[in-house]
């Protein structure tokens, strides 16, 4: 067998759950469910049966209850519980069929949201947060306000809360920006605040702060574009004229003016045009490309 076909075979088998038999015919749902929920079967076999089971989940109340029990039970191996979660989540895409199961599914997710297993907890909170679930939002906010109660790391909590603009997370995010537990948490807090109309002055300050990390300054530029686009244009111009600015931020500023600038005002801005014209030849490769795009757009 050639190397290529071996590789292809191994990639195909990687996509299949362990324990799934090659070329096996579809098994009846009753048999699948009995394997999936049988604690005496091997984990791989159960995971494989669950992976085939999504359509069977809502076939009967008994099937649903069995699968929810697997998900709920801390006695079950975590691989099996995660597979059960994935199967029910897959079933939920059939909105009409799943409607009968939905309320019990959500109630179970709320139970599992405080499970001792971190990965399961995080996935479950993710599903609930995308549903804008009040219970999940309250738990996540509690964790941000009191780290001892936190179910997920602060950056994850902020990321999940950002699914709902009405999740009352701005105050907690501001607190994290001021007293960040980690760089990642601060970054996520800033991303969340990019939808807070009152945060524009903070982003202006961060954008102009040369001591800030480039990523934070870029997040600030993006937030300003959403909140106060005219301010971004002002600052972007000033950054481009400042010869002591960093390349990354100048490239971001150049893109902002090229894409969103007032065409007439920019074209008439001789100082800026001269500066960009110089950049075209003298700056780093990244800026040169952006400068050429700018000059193409503004007619030079």
């Amino acid at each position: 067998m050639s190397k290529k076909s071996k590789a292809s075979k191994s990639s195909k088998s990687a996509r299949k759950p362990k324990g799934a038999k090659k070329g096996a015919a579809k098994r009846p749902s009753g048999r699948l469910m009995s394997v999936a929920t049988n604690a005496r079967k091997a984990i791989n076999e159960r995971v494989a049966a669950i992976a085939e089971a999504p359509l069977a989940v809502c076939e009967s109340d008994e099937n649903l209850q069995s699968m929810l029990n697997v998900l709920r039970s801390e006695e079950e191996p975590i691989e099996v519980r995660l597979a059960a979660l994935q199967a029910i989540q897959a079933a939920s895409f059939s909105v009409v069929t799943f409607e009968s199961c939905r309320s019990e599914y959500i109630a179970t997710l709320r139970q599992v949201a405080t499970d001792p297993d971190m990965e399961l907890r995080q996935r479950v909170l993710g599903i609930l947060a995308r549903e804008k679930d009040g219970f999940a939002q309250r738990k996540l906010l509690e964790g941000l306000q009191n780290p001892e109660k936190a179910l997920v790391p602060p950056e994850k909590a902020l990321q999940l809360l950002s699914n709902d603009v009405h999740a009352e997370a701005y105050a907690a995010a501001r607190e994290i920006v001021n007293n960040p537990p980690s760089d990642t948490a601060r970054r996520e807090a800033l991303r969340l605040l990019a939808a807070d109309a009152t945060a524009a002055p903070m982003f202006e300050k961060l954008l102009r702060d040369k001591d800030e990390q480039a990523e934070i300054r870029q997040i600030s530029a993006s937030a300003l574009q959403a909140l106060k686009p005219e301010k971004l244009q002002e600052h972007a111009r000033a950054i481009l004229l400042d010869t002591s600015e960093y390349d990354d931020i100048q490239a971001t500023s150049l893109t902002a003016i090229t894409q969103f600038g007032d065409e007439q005002a920019v074209a008439e801005d001789k100082t800026l045009m001269r500066r960009i014209d110089n950049m075209k030849d003298e700056a780093s490769t990244k800026i040169k490309q952006s400068a050429r795009r700018f000059l193409t757009k503004y007619g030079q």
């Binding site: 109340d61 909105v95 009409v96 069929t97 409607e99 009968s100 939905r102 309320s103 019990e104 959500i106 109630a107 179970t108 709320r110 139970q111 804008k132 679930d133 009040g134 219970f135 939002q137 309250r138 709902d164 603009v165 009405h166 999740a167 009352e168 701005y170 939808a195 807070d196 109309a197 009152t198 909140l227 686009p229």
Partner: protein, 535 residues
């Protein structure tokens, strides 16, 4: 004694205790209704989820204490446009405590059932702020089915809808089929043929959805200098835009996540504008959609929001944001909205009609308003303005008859078609003309002189008809009429080229007639659709 007016600074637990105390005290139960007003200070600086928990608890207190006529509107509002499972379930339960079940309530329960059935989440009413995470819970669909059963024969008007949902695959959750059957049985019960005495009477509480201020309108002086920025970034003051003519004003914000509120309101504004246009009133009655969230809703954002919903935006019809914030507007319009920082946490549906002085002449609150009703009220205000200007009674300003332009268009179509016929049969020379005349002579007609200039004139009119059909096709989006008329015109022109294809002219006439007729029918269908008639 605990005071509702001072409830603003309370914690959620204290608020829940206050609500329980009010529900338990028959003399103070009416104060629960006050707590359901969105602009109540108790909701100031609370998040949306907190607001849901608080309002839900008040609705549940009403369910225990009984819903009064004054509180009914808040319950129906939740059923009419609510999308939160907890609030809809609580409202359904509260409705069952209204002392007089009424046929007018059934459509609200049915609408809620239709809106919420794919978001049937578990809710717990056990304690304040509890979320269901076990098997002992209820759901909005379950509560609504129990409410329909409570309405019994009063819900006969929606029985066919319940039965249709029952029969439809996935229409209602399988495990609730017992409740569905119970509701159907209750609705069918009682005197089957006995007409519902109060079938068409709206409960008293519902009358507050519309208010009509005659002779007692507040002046708009306090907000006359309020500056707005419109969808195109142009600045205009309240006085500049709202004085001199009646206006229809709705409120919205682009981040609203309830599709039955802001998104629907702005979509309906677009339909309302078309009604004004169809009645020729679009230059006499202005419209405006004002955002609750001016800090976030920048001109580009409100422009895109309006455009995506078909709103007409020009100097008379604008999407607006108040540049100095929404506070002045809040107090002038007494808006049913509250905020956490600058973000809306809850708002009601609200639309206003302003008179020519910018004063509020009428308001529509909470329940979905009807576009035609709003237009009719605005016309009344317009008539009233005309009366005031003339210093006495003057003839009413009537909407331009819809059929007048239609008649004009039909006449132009007929003229164009006749021109095509004229071109097809126009004689080539005076001898042919004599031949025609000899035929007319047989019919006893008077002598008609030969006018060679008539042919180019008829040809020009035929081209005008072609252009008119093209324009009509473009406006209706149906070009089939234009294609037929084009083919007809082509056939007529070919028949006149002297290629021995004179007989083609008959086909040309037939195609022209068919195309013109089709074009006129398409245009008529479109006008009827715009008026809400059959498409």
């Amino acid at each position: 004694m605990q005071n509702v007016a001072m409830a603003g600074a309370r914690s959620e637990t204290e608020f829940a205790s206050l609500v329980d105390a009010l529900a338990a005290d028959p003399d103070r139960r009416e104060q629960l209704t006050e707590l359901l007003r969105e602009d109540h200070p108790v909701y100031d600086q609370r998040g949306a989820a907190t607001t849901v928990r608080m309002r839900g608890w008040v609705l549940l207190a009403l369910a225990r204490a009984g819903v009064s006529d004054a509180a009914l509107i808040f319950v129906l509002e939740e059923l009419d446009a609510g999308v939160d499972a907890y609030l809809v379930a609580a409202a359904a339960r509260a409705l069952r405590s209204y002392p007089s079940p009424n046929a007018a309530l059934a459509p609200f329960a049915m609408r809620a059932l239709t809106n919420i059935r794919y978001h049937d989440e578990p809710v717990s009413f056990e304690g304040y702020g509890e979320y269901a995470d076990s098997s002992s819970y209820t759901t909005p669909v379950r509560e609504l089915l129990v409410t329909l059963a409570w309405l019994g024969p009063h819900a006969r008007g929606v029985l066919h809808e319940v039965e249709a949902l029952r029969a439809q695959h996935g229409g209602l959750p399988k495990k609730l089929l017992v409740e569905v059957d119970r509701a159907v049985e209750a609705i069918r019960g009682g005197q089957a043929d006995e007409p519902d005495a109060d079938c068409c009477t709206l409960p008293n509480g519902l009358s507050s959805t519309f208010s009509w201020a005659l002779g007692s309108r507040r002046g708009s002086e306090s907000i006359e200098s309020t500056v707005f920025e419109d969808h195109g970034g142009a600045s205009v003051t309240f006085r500049e835009f709202f004085r001199g003519h009646p206006s229809i004003v709705v409120f919205f914000y682009t981040r609203c996540d309830n599709p039955l509120k802001c998104s629907l309101t702005v979509t309906k504004l677009a339909r309302l504008q078309k009604l004004l246009e169809a009645q020729g009133l679009d230059d006499q009655i202005y419209t405006a959609a004002i955002t609750y969230d001016p800090a976030f809703d920048l001109p580009a954002r409100i422009h895109a929001y309006g455009q995506n919903r078909g709103v007409r935006m020009d100097d008379r019809h604008r999407m607006l944001r108040a540049t100095d914030g929404v506070n002045a507007l809040r107090s002038h319009f007494k808006l049913g909205v509250n905020f956490i920082e600058s973000l809306v946490n809850r708002h009601r549906i609200e639309a206003y009609i302003l008179d020519a002085e910018g004063r509020i002449a009428a308001s529509f609150e909470r329940i979905q308003w009807d576009e035609q009703q709003l237009v009719d009220r605005a016309i009344e205000v317009l008539n009233e303005t005309s009366n005031e200007k003339s210093g006495g009674p003057v003839p009413e300003v009537s909407p331009r008859p819809v059929d007048a332009p239609a008649r004009g268009k039909t006449a132009s179509t007929m003229l164009g078609t006749l021109a095509s016929v004229g071109v097809a049969f126009f004689p080539k020379c005076p001898i042919c003309w004599a031949g025609y005349l000899s035929m007319f002579g047989v019919a006893g007609l008077e002598r008609i002189p030969y006018y060679p200039w008539l042919q180019p004139l008829l040809f020009a009119v035929m081209l005008i008809n072609l252009a008119s059909v093209w324009l009509r096709g473009r406006s209706t989006g149906r070009m089939s009429g234009f294609y037929l008329v084009s083919a007809g015109a082509f056939a007529i022109v070919v028949s006149k080229l002297g290629l021995g294809l004179e007989s083609v002219a008959i086909w040309g006439i037939a195609l022209t007639l068919a195309g013109s007729l089709l074009s006129a029918l398409n245009a008529k269908g479109r006008r009827l659709t715009a008026r809400g008639g059959p498409a």
